[in-house]
Amino acid sequence: MKNIIKITVLGILGLFLQSCGNDGSSGSKSGAITSNAAERVYVAPGEHDEYYAFLSGGYSGNLTVYGLPSGRLLKEIPVFSQFPTNGYGYSEETVPMLNTSFGFVPWGDAHHPDISQTEGELDGRWIFINENNTPRIARISLETFETEEIIEIPHSAGNHSSSFITENTEYVVAGTRFSVPYPQEDMAIDQMKGNFKGPLTFIAIDDNGRMNIDFQLKMPGFNYDLSHPGRGDSHGWFFFTTYNTEEAHTMQEVNASQNDKDFIAAVNWKKIQEYVKNGGGEEIDAEYAHNVFDHSTQTATTTMEKKVLTVDPREVEGAVYFMPTPKSPHGCDVDPSGEYIVGNGKLSTDLTVHSFSKMLKAIENEDFDGDAYGIPVLNFDSTLAGTVKEGGLGPLHTEFDGKGNAYTTFFISSEVVKWKLGTWEVLDRQPSYYSVGHLMIPGGNSREPYGKYMISMNKITKDRYLPTGPELEHSAQLYDISGEKMELLLDFPTHGEPHYAAGIPAEKIKSKSKKIYRLDENKHEYAAISESETKMVREGNEVHVYMTTVRSHFSPDNLEGIKVGDKVFFHVTNLEQDFDVPHGFAMIGANTSELLIMPGQTKTITWEPEKEGVWPFYCTDFCSALHQEMQGYVRVSGKNSNVPLKWTLDDEEIN
């Protein structure tokens, strides 16, 4: 009961702080908006934006791509969710991408995108993103903007403190937010304390981007919420915030908010990497799917892995420490120099900043304040660099501009606060509309942030746009942060619920973006590289149709000899080699999705006709002036008929 009162008080305090924060501004819903804001976000027709912004889709399971400063939506990239728009997760080629040890999972909860780095700078090769619900990490190519690989994280639950990358893309990490029995077993829930674990998984990335689990750190059963890598001097370390160090198994809202301080776990992964290389750790049973999309065959395959290497952190001398951090910290953010580690204590008004160099000294002096499950807890005062006082209420996440400033979102008081690293003084505050969750400065998680724009991703939309019924899209806001004060320039709606984003200067990737897939590199098993290769092949009751598209016809476009009860595989190859000339394929009554096939690609969809007749199919993409004519017929005969297979174009048999 006491806690409920406390939360109410915090809420009221929040309102108070918010009204204080607004005092300096005009008090209108646009805040202190500058008169030329429109010009500063206007990207003229045909012009390109300065930055790409990749926003996670949260419960959409996907990743959306925006241009900044315009806030224009450029694309939605399907990652963890089926996407009937182009057939992802429906086509035979991409169904394996969504395989897991739980079978085919058609949906995911995508949270924190992070772009690959070289020497602490964004290199624009890939973007990674985590799935929270059925723990997985995906890698997306920034040449094709397609999901190339998804690896499941065994023994984890609530894969939230992910998918952050070390400064040379050595590792992408995957933490555990919901501690669970490790490995899973049947036990009473109230036996959680001391028995559950929170494994932290380190996935090694090779030069081709291929992910492989290197080791899993068997940590106490806290909730590992967010994480960030060290950089510069602190490269080699990884920092994870924890909450529910109480290890409450029920009513966590209250029971996990009891301890005055939770921890930031500091993990020296270089030490553990070394330990594992020298044969350390124990191989244990696991079951997890590793799905890889091969660009030459354009087909994904699933490999079920059976083992994982687990490391007890207590076995590796000097590898893991806990830094006490007040009030259930959410974001765990490391400044561009690598010296400061910011704990965003979400039930507090203050921000706690740890110093990496002080941390090393405390470790050297064994300045411990006891231990937690055998892991040393460092003395709070000896790692503390400073506290940002009265920043606001409910700090969640901090980013950096590379000019010595930090920007923190405050969820409860609904504002973004700018403060100075080192002096910890608050420099500016701007209201957000409403209840800002996370924020992003392009390159904010690197040694080289591009401190020109910042976007905030707001959890509550309310009246910001024309109303669209009870369910609203979330809203983002763009601020110019190049001056002393933050200036709100633009609101734009987002898709799903962005939990974080990653931004990169357009120049770093736009010239590498592919225009077509080369037909002469298409090694798809069922591709027809020219119309003369199109055909039908019967294998029992399966019929494989090798089909092509080119403006503006299918080959073949008349198909006979298919029978009720057959399973028809339409393998459709787009013969075009011209930029932005896709063709679509849709079959009446197919219980799947359409296909959208890019130039040079082959995609496959199945159809199981149940009724005799002559059934049309057509191109769904307005590909040309003759698009409406891009159609064909399939004759379906009775189960026992002996109509032979026959495929024609312009009444001529193809061979």
């Binding site: 077509i516 080699q577 930029f579 040309s624």
Partner: protein, 207 residues
Amino acid sequence: MKKSGTLMIIGSALLLGLFIFPLWNIQLEAPQYPDPLGMNIYISGIEGEEEFDIQNIDGINHYIGMKKIPTPAEMWEFNTFPLVIGGMATLGALLGILGFFKIIGPKWFLGWLILMTVLGVLGMIDFNNWLTDYGTDLDPRAIMKLTDSEGNPLSYKPPLFGSQKILNFTAHSYPRAGAYLMFIGMLLTLVAWLLGRKSKTMELNKN
């Protein structure tokens, strides 16, 4: 005559640039093609400016019934032109050497230039004939059959030189490096002749 002979050799050697650089270029620009489709015409064949330009030009042209852009094997010109250019360059260089050693007079240079000009004009006429055939000999089953205000079938012939609007496309047809080198070369042989004539007159005066 030394200077004149040298110029004659250089001038005719510049023709060899046609083996490296395109002679002519036609670009097709349209709203849907902000990066224009383009073909480079070499003496030995036609190539796309970008790898798939020819395929894409053929793809678009099939709507109006135009034939595909010919491969080297489909046009005798692409076999003959390299022989003619190679032969003329060799001949010119030979004349230059003979002139250099005063075995022949500058009149031969003029003769070469006249022959080259005649061949060049013939080549242009032939090229224009091909463009006319390409732009007007259309498939009777063409998807789109467009006519002008008098009811005659539209001609899709790209211009021999200059820019012209054809339906949604604007065609730009201009010479390229190979042609420029050839023109400079021919100009040099003209200068070679003039210089040679002058030095001959001077020699005559001396005597």
